[in-house]
């Protein structure tokens, strides 16, 4: 048998910027995204959506559409059933509130009441126009504060004042501590809604083999196993009746984390059309208005500090506009409030979060999971506290930050922690000491923000495990199967590097098969910056198991104790003598020889030792480890035009260990770009429930010309539990960006912006107020 050749450059791949495992397909256009797949007989599916923000459904007449030649299936709630699904179902079964297709009421413009499958796009569009729906229009409510008022239109039955979730985080006794404070201040911050804008819109292809009762769903998604579970539950099928295959996915950012009505619809349409596959592909407008969006939030904070800078206590209130349905409401509220315990040693805190229903599109998970809003509020507020006691903001943070090996007041067990190093190295790189407070004569300023992030959390299940399988073939080529979903962040690459490193082989030997529920082990999905850490540990264990199987045979054959053997850089070595015993290739030849003939199939699974959040107090060790960062922005303010020019951004990030430094930098740069978008432009706007900027013209995301120079600094703290010391790091970098910039603007021109985005008109208004002495600082 021909033995696979390997690339020597990719031996010991951990810590090297090896090219992406799927890179050649992506740069040549050969990789197939769901959008690119055309199956024989495939139909085009379209969702039937409500044109009203709030209405009762009286009658749906689909007969005209059904009689249109070329229409193969029309479905409504009669076909999908009176069932409900939701994302926080495990912990909050009573909050499950969305139906695959609504039968009684619609609650936002775009709410799904049916779906159509036709032979082509035009016929499907034509059929949509023939659907006749009688609605009784109800008064709508579009603002969270209005929705909470007594007498506001009630969006869901039995939900008083439209309050979907009340989440109290309640630790210590802040009211008592305020009495000991030397300085107390309160601030209110406003965060708008925003969109994920994945470059690939939501797309799925459903095929229902009616006789064998088997569903296959090809999908652009972050959590295919979750989709499988939702379909199984709603259609009362077995998990192995349903195959969900994630194809190459054009971005996720939290927007492709949940089951959407389109996913149910593609399957049920296919069933009704006799098993023909049905593809549903969102238009860009649907992507903006009918997927998920960022919770717009009002963040009220009040804190007390001592003269020496000790942060004593904090109270506050968060009001989050949840839109029409629950989505990840409770966990998102917990996440936005609890984050502060990762970064600050605060022992007394009481912040209550309210998630409120409105007749607007559904708010859900989006990169940062509430942390972008809290990052803006908390990190702006910290600078104002430091200013109040006349302390440098860097000194103030260093005085109050968390340390390695500590337990936070809410029971988060922090092990490795490079926050201090992040702050110090960012400050040094940016020349903080010589710049802070010294450049206002040229209207330049410098500001800092810090953040912490989790790597996983038990958001929707009793466990959050991830499994891997490593199969070594006779020719030394290796298959690695993982449940983890690469949505573009590069997890297939990083996980394959981990497998190659642990198995002691070149990365070039690995082929990665990922996120196919019929073939790969389970994984909860790509969210909460969990994949490198959790799926990485699953991969590590699988590779270790495969290695043990190989070494067992080598040990038997050479009569060397197995504990004295290892595989490193394509060689089986004896640890005591440091001698090479045989090549990896010869070891595999031995495994598959006449004498042994054992297949090498390593398996591994990892479930982090975490506890779910106590939703009554906000306590919980939600992540096995935590990652940290400090960010500095240097800005220049044009006081005539009100525009802000970012001169440079510095981001020092505790990543544990950079498995692939180039990928890690790219995650940080991408996060920063997203952060900048939210600071200056991104604001998903609604008028009476209708989105008024659902395109890239009205909703500007960062373009090449908007990107300032960025300096990333990787801090490697080698986490004791991380695979090769690695931590998750996909989200943290956009959390403090808005505050770092707001803090820099104040340093430059003495104005304090508390409402995002920082548009020129807001800057000019604040400058005028400052001139008139009305500034609210």
């Amino acid at each position: 048998m021909r033995i696979q050749s390997f690339d020597k450059n990719f031996v010991n791949p951990v810590g090297k910027s090896v090219p992406r495992i799927d890179g050649k397909g992506l740069v040549t256009g050969q990789t197939k995204f769901t959008q690119d797949v055309n199956l024989p007989g495939m139909l085009v599916g379209k969702m039937i959506r409500s044109p009203h923000p709030h209405a009762r459904i009286i009658n749906i007449d689909t007969s005209k559409a059904e009689n249109l030649p070329g229409v193969k299936a029309v479905i409504t709630a009669k076909d999908t059933g009176e069932i409900k699904f939701g994302s926080n179902e495990f912990f909050f079964p009573h909050l499950v509130d969305q139906m695959p297709l609504e039968s009684q009421k619609v609650r936002y413009i775009g709410d799904e009441i049916g779906a159509i499958a036709a032979v082509d796009e035009e016929t499907a569009e034509q059929a949509l126009k023939l659907i006749e729906v009688q609605y009784e229009i109800l008064p709508g409510v579009f603002d969270a504060l209005e929705a909470m008022k007594p007498g506001a239109p009630q969006i869901h039955e039995n939900v008083r004042n439209n309050i979907n979730v009340i989440l109290p985080v309640n630790i210590g006794n802040p009211e008592r501590m305020f009495k000991e404070a030397d300085y107390v201040r309160d601030d209110v911050f406003y965060c708008p809604s925003a969109a994920h804008t994945c470059m690939e819109t939501h797309t799925c292809i459903g095929q229902y083999e009616t006789f064998s009762n088997k569903i296959t769903l090809w999908i652009s998604h972050q959590a295919p196993f979750k989709v499988r579970e939702a379909i199984a539950k709603c259609f009362k099928m077995d998990l192995n009746d349903i195959r969900v295959v994630k194809l190459a996915t054009g971005g996720g950012f939290g927007g492709k984390l949940e089951m959407l009505p389109m996913d149910f619809a593609a399957c049920v349409l296919s069933k009704k059309a006799g098993g023909l596959p049905v593809k549903i592909m969102y238009t860009r407008e649907e992507e903006f208005t009918c997927s998920r969006r960022k919770h717009n939030m009002i963040y009220k904070l009040k804190s007390g500090v001592k003269k020496d800078g000790t942060l004593l206590c904090m109270t506050g209130e968060v009001i989050a506009d949840g839109g029409a349905y629950c989505s990840y409401g409770p966990t998102l509220l917990a996440s936005t409030i609890m984050r502060i315990f990762m970064t600050y040693q605060i022992k007394h805190l009481k912040i209550t979060g309210y998630r409120v229903y409105t007749n607007t599109p559904i708010s859900g998970a989006i990169r940062g999971f509430g942390g972008v809003q809290s990052g803006f509020a908390v990190e702006s507020h910290m600078d104002l506290l430091a200013k109040g006691i006349g302390m440098d903001p860097v000194e103030f943070r260093l005085k109050n930050i968390t340390t390695p090996n500590m337990v936070a007041a809410n029971k988060m067990k922090i092990s490795s922690n490079g926050l201090k190093e992040c702050i110090e190295s960012a400050a040094l790189a940016a020349d903080w000491k010589n710049k802070r407070g010294k450049q206002s004569h040229i209207r330049r300023g410098i500001g800092m923000g810090i953040a912490g992030d989790v790597m996983g959390s038990k958001m929707y299940k009793s466990h959050e495990s991830s499994g891997g399988i490593v199969k070594v073939e006779e020719d030394c080529s290796i298959y690695f199967f993982t449940g983890a979903s690469d949505t573009g962040q590069g997890s297939n690459t990083a996980l394959s590097q981990i497998v190659a490193q642990e198995l002691g082989v070149s990365y070039s030997r690995i082929k990665c098969i990922a996120a196919d529920t019929a073939i790969t082990p389970f994984d909860t999905g790509s969210f909460a910056s969990r994949v490198t850490f959790i799926a990485g540990n699953g991969a590590l264990r699988a590779a270790h198991d495969a290695k043990e199987q190989i070494l067992k045979i080598v040990a038997k054959d050479t009569q060397i104790d197995i504990n004295d053997l290892d595989i490193k850089a394509e060689e089986v070595i004896q640890l005591s003598t440091k001698k090479n015993i045989m090549s990896f290739e010869n070891a595999i030849k031995l495994c598959y020889s006449f004498n042994y003939g054992d297949q090498i199939i390593g398996r591994g699974s990892y479930n982090p030792p975490t506890t779910p959040v106590d939703f009554r107090t906000g306590e919980g060790h939600v992540s096995a480890s935590y990652s940290f960062e400090a960010q500095i922005a240097e800005v220049e303010v044009n006081i005539k035009s009100g525009t802000i020019n970012i001169l440079k951004l510095w981001d020092a990030h505790d990543v544990g260990k950079a498995i692939n430094p180039s990928s890690v930098e790219s995650q940080i740069e991408g996060s920063l770009a997203m952060g900048l978008g939210y600071v200056f432009n991104e604001n998903l706007k609604f008028e009476n429930g209708r989105c008024v900027n659902a395109n890239f013209d009205g909703y500007r995301i960062p373009r090449s010309v908007d990107i300032p120079p960025i300096k990333t600094i990787l801090i490697e703290t080698i986490d004791p539990q991380g695979p090769f010391g690695a931590k998750g790091m996909g989200e943290a970098a956009l959390l403090p960006t808005a505050a770092a910039i707001a803090n820099a603007i104040e340093d430059a021109v003495g104005i304090r912006l508390k409402e995002l985005p920082f548009t020129p008109d807001k800057v000019l208004k604040a400058l005028k107020e400052k001139e008139r002495g009305e500034a609210n600082l």
């Binding site: 910027s17 090219p19 992406r20 799927d22 890179g23 050649k24 397909g25 992506l26 740069v27 040549t28 256009g29 050969q30 990789t31 197939k32 995204f33 959008q35 690119d36 055309n38 994920h196 804008t197 994945c198 470059m199 690939e200 819109t201 190459a248 996915t249 054009g250 971005g251 950012f253 238009t283 860009r284 949505t487 573009g488 962040q489 590069g490 180039s662 990928s663 930098e665 790219s666 740069e669 991408g670 996060s671 920063l672 770009a673 997203m674 395109n695 890239f696 013209d697 995301i701 960062p702 373009r703 090449s704 010309v705 990107i707 960025i710």
Partner: protein, 157 residues
């Protein structure tokens, strides 16, 4: 109506209604799916292709206006099994994340380098202004364009 054009050095004669966009024809009729649709409204650059040496947005271009034109998509860039130096540079510089914008981005990069093999950062930024990327935040893409220019220059010499 019947039209003929050349796509990636291969001639295609097609019977069209007239309202089909070039993007639809390339993807759905010819079945060449490297060119992507991300907005369908000419705002994101994912569907960028070359027509007679100039980049255009194929989602805003009627296929029937492309009669007798010479069209190049991402699939027409590599020669045989060898990646084009720009594709190589994008891989080496780690400029690719999800890859959905890549076909358009790489062709936009080619458009920059066709005019100048040593573009400065402002020229690169300006040249990529019409191509949106949501994952990578652009810095590694800028580096890739620069590196590709150097590789192409070395190849020429």
């Amino acid at each position: 109506m019947q039209i003929t054009f050349t796509l990636n050095k291969k001639s295609h004669t097609l019977q069209l209604h007239g309202h089909e966009t070039l993007l639809e024809v390339i993807r759905n009729i010819i079945g060449s799916t490297g060119t992507k649709e991300a907005c369908g409204e000419g705002e994101c650059g994912a569907c960028t292709v070359f027509i007679d040496g100039k980049t255009i947005l194929s989602c805003l271009t009627l296929a029937c206006d492309c009669a007798d034109c010479n069209i190049t998509t991402i699939e027409g860039l590599s020669e045989g099994d060898n990646l084009h130096p720009i594709q190589e540079a994008f891989l080496e510089q780690g400029a690719v994340q999800c890859g959905f914008c890549m076909s358009g981005m790489i062709l936009a990069a080619k458009n920059i380098l066709d005019k100048n093999l040593s573009p400065d950062i402002d020229e690169i930024k300006k040249g990529l202004d019409g191509n949106l990327c949501r994952c990578a935040g652009y810095p590694k893409i800028f580096e890739a364009v620069k590196a590709a220019g150097i590789n192409l220059k070395n190849k020429k010499q």
